[in-house]
Amino acid sequence: MADVPPPPTAPTPQAVTMRGITKSFGGVPVLRAVDFDLRHGEIHALVGGNGAGKSTLMKILAGVYNHDAGSYEVDGHPVDFHTVHDAQAAGVGMVFQEFSLIPTLNVAQNVFLTREARGAAGLIDDREMERRTRELFATMSVDVDPRRTMDELPTAFWQLTEIAKALSQRARVLIMDEPTAALAKTETVELFALMRRLKAQGISIVYISHRMEEIFEICDRITVLRDGRPVMTANVGEVTPRHVIDAIVGRKLEETMTYHPRQVGDEVVLEARGLSTATKLRGIDFQLRRGEVLGLAGLMGSGRTELARVLFGIDGLQSGELLIQGGPVRIAHPGAAMANGIALIPEDRRAQGLILAHGVRENFLLPLLGRLSRAGFVDDAEGDRRTKTFISRLSIQLRSMAQPIGTLSGGNQQKVVIAKWLGTEPRILIMDEPTAGVDIGTKGEIVGMIRAFANQGNSVIIISSELPELLAVSDRVLILRDGAVEQELDRGDILHEEDLHHAIQGVGVPA
């Protein structure tokens, strides 16, 4: 761990050398004289809280943004990219966080979009593109049918297609922004295998991620940005996750992720009996007690999200029964769930949680409109009052209540989603991946909110693929597999994160 980046003394040119990169948006500095080095054939983690500047730095390298001051070199040649095409021509490719693929086109058409293979008479030669796409996937050692339409394929394949697209442009430097955010554990393992093969081919990778565990598994070096400044560059072998987290947040965070046994009531607030749906769930039974935090663990496709959707009335039940406070209820739509004191923080905050073009206040008030209604008119004064209360209670950073929510950072957006649902005063809060794409500081705050909410005698069902977080808050964990509850674990029975990993993968917990 060093406070200053190592001096650039490498005799051979590095893949990327950035010096004194400075960038402001609207007069606000986002990057302040950042130095960054990427060696040939290394996987270099770039981490930092939301707004630390890591995406901005990489977008400058990828030609999306222009820098204000500083200089950078690729393979020892000074460059200054003005467009994404400039960067691609120099061998720098970026796999965007929000995929840049067209859902209605097929894999090959996406890989060669705007660079289509032409045949006789200048017409597009789909066969040729499919052949070349197949070759690309062969060098990546993955099996994808180039003729499948994107929207038929799971997220993991979108990721692979993005990578193939970059490689098809002979990228030597690959920038990956949160590539595992939407992947299940097994898919992540495959992605890492691919990254190692690319590395062996001499390709350098910048890996932007919030997930410490993955960084320590796959990366060679790590650079931490905080408030637009590099605060640490080190070999991964020489630091611990704790060092890195401390560098990211600039303060100690040790206690936040530690579970403290809690007193849970006996009263059952929600009971599921044999919940089944046409597509996924097969007879799910469980009980949720007053003041309890119940964790749902399982692989992608195990039915966690489907269960949350059913409980909130988004999808219908084929059979089974739900009881709230011991009484049977029918939850046919989200309104009915809300009337029964249930709230859902959905998995995809941009698509399901928020109306990005609308203001913070409009988003916050949406589920409350019914209560703020006076003969059909909205009580705006009361609405403003409640919005202000929650903005300060959750310390959401914003310019004004009318600020379009799409312009907030991911962490602040997620806080608004949480505020929006806490505002409905639920007794049962369902959270589906509540900290996905959120910086570590905010993650700690969200964990704190979950505990505070449960301590007031409310109940929480939390789905998370990040096991440390799941273990930090859950009093009990249900393991789902193929749409059924495979195992129920009391928090006290889970000694290590490993145990939970094994249970999820179906290898069983050593008793």
């Binding site: 901005t56 929000e98 989200p334 409009e362 949406l366 907030l408 950072s409 929006k420």
Partner: protein
């Protein structure tokens, strides 16, 4: 990997920057455009009586029916939908109202009910097909345009049906109360209702939420199907009223009334600053949008441009206005 999808990272900005970014050109261009068009015409056409109260009232009269439909269309587009059948519905309702007053011999209130019911039935059918059967509104209303227009031709044998009832024509568009045309009163009332409903009621907020992101709205407990059904139904009802205003103003019912009006109505809404993709809508903007179209028509006529050239200039002005309103 061709473009960035996320905007620049956001940090607290200084006050001046905030004030500047708060002034959104797309939201305000209509006011500026309206002012420019008005001033240009006032300076160049004052000799020809552009500024006379008679002429300005005439602009209101000529655009009133489009304006009224544009209010309901603001909700339809704000909810992320479109209705192409409104012109045809107005034509049909002018025919059914004229028939009710004439050959069916119904009393005035019953005839009014017939006219409104005509629009309501089409609106309910549109709403059902869009909200429940989940066919895109563009296709539903494109089909409905043909069905409704054909029905109007069939019912009227393609001939105009005269209206003798002076009370009806007085109320619906021909009369003046003092110096104020009844059409102006209709317009003012409909706009006031539309503005308050969109800005101040839970219904208005839910319409915008549905148009802004229907999935997020549904996840927030908004019954998006009901909202969709309601905006389409109210649109039909309003088009029915517009048809009666055509009938009253022109003392007859004709299937051609309102033909092509859907395009002016949609143009007025979009010029006014409502997003064609939903989620952002303004009734005041719509009022100015339709008045601007009216002013342009009036000014070009006063300038004695031939009709053919009027079409071209009007098209250019609309494209220019929307281009200026685009976010840079």
């Amino acid at each position: 990997m061709t473009q960035s999808t996320s905007p620049s990272p956001v940090r607290p900005r200084p006050a001046i920057g905030a004030a500047l970014s708060a002034f959104d050109w797309r939201q305000n261009i209509i006011y500026i455009g309206f002012l420019i068009v008005f001033v240009v015409f006032a300076m160049t056409l004052s000799q020809k009586g552009f500024l006379s109260s008679t002429n300005l009232l005439n602009v209101f009269r000529q655009t009133a029916i489009i304006s009224i439909m544009a209010v309901a269309m603001t909700f339809v587009i704000g909810a992320g939908h479109i209705d192409l059948s409104v012109g045809a519905v107005a034509g049909l309702s002018s025919v059914t109202t004229a028939l009710a007053l004439g050959s069916w011999g119904l009393p005035l209130p019953a005839a009014v009910v017939v006219g409104l019911l005509t629009g309501l039935v089409v609106g309910v059918a549109n709403g059902f097909l869009v909200a429940v059967v989940a066919i895109p509104s563009f296709l539903v209303t494109l089909g409905m345009l043909g069905i409704v227009n054909g029905s109007a031709q069939w019912l009227s044998n393609t001939a105009p049906i005269p209206i003798q009832d002076d009370t009806f024509t007085f109320i619906f568009g021909s009369g003046d109360i003092g110096p104020i045309p009844s059409l102006l009163i209709w317009t003012a009332v409909i706009f006031a209702i539309g503005h308050v409903v969109l800005r101040k009621t839970t219904y208005g907020r839910r319409v915008l939420a549905t148009g802004g992101n229907s999935v997020a709205a549904r996840f927030s407990g908004v019954d998006t199907r009901l909202i969709t059904f309601l905006v389409m139904t109210v649109m039909g009802l309003t088009a029915g009223l517009a048809g009666m205003l055509f009938a009253g103003r022109l003392h007859s019912g004709r299937f051609e009334f309102g033909a092509g009006a859907e395009l002016s109505v949609i143009a007025a809404v979009i010029l006014g600053g409502t997003s064609l993709f939903g989620g952002r809508a303004t009734v005041i903007g719509t009022l100015l949008g339709s008045l601007m179209i009216g002013l342009i028509n009036n000014g070009l006529t006063l300038a004695s441009l031939p009709t053919s050239q009027q079409f071209i200039v009007r098209g250019l002005i609309i494209i220019l206005a929307v281009a200026l309103a685009k976010k840079r």
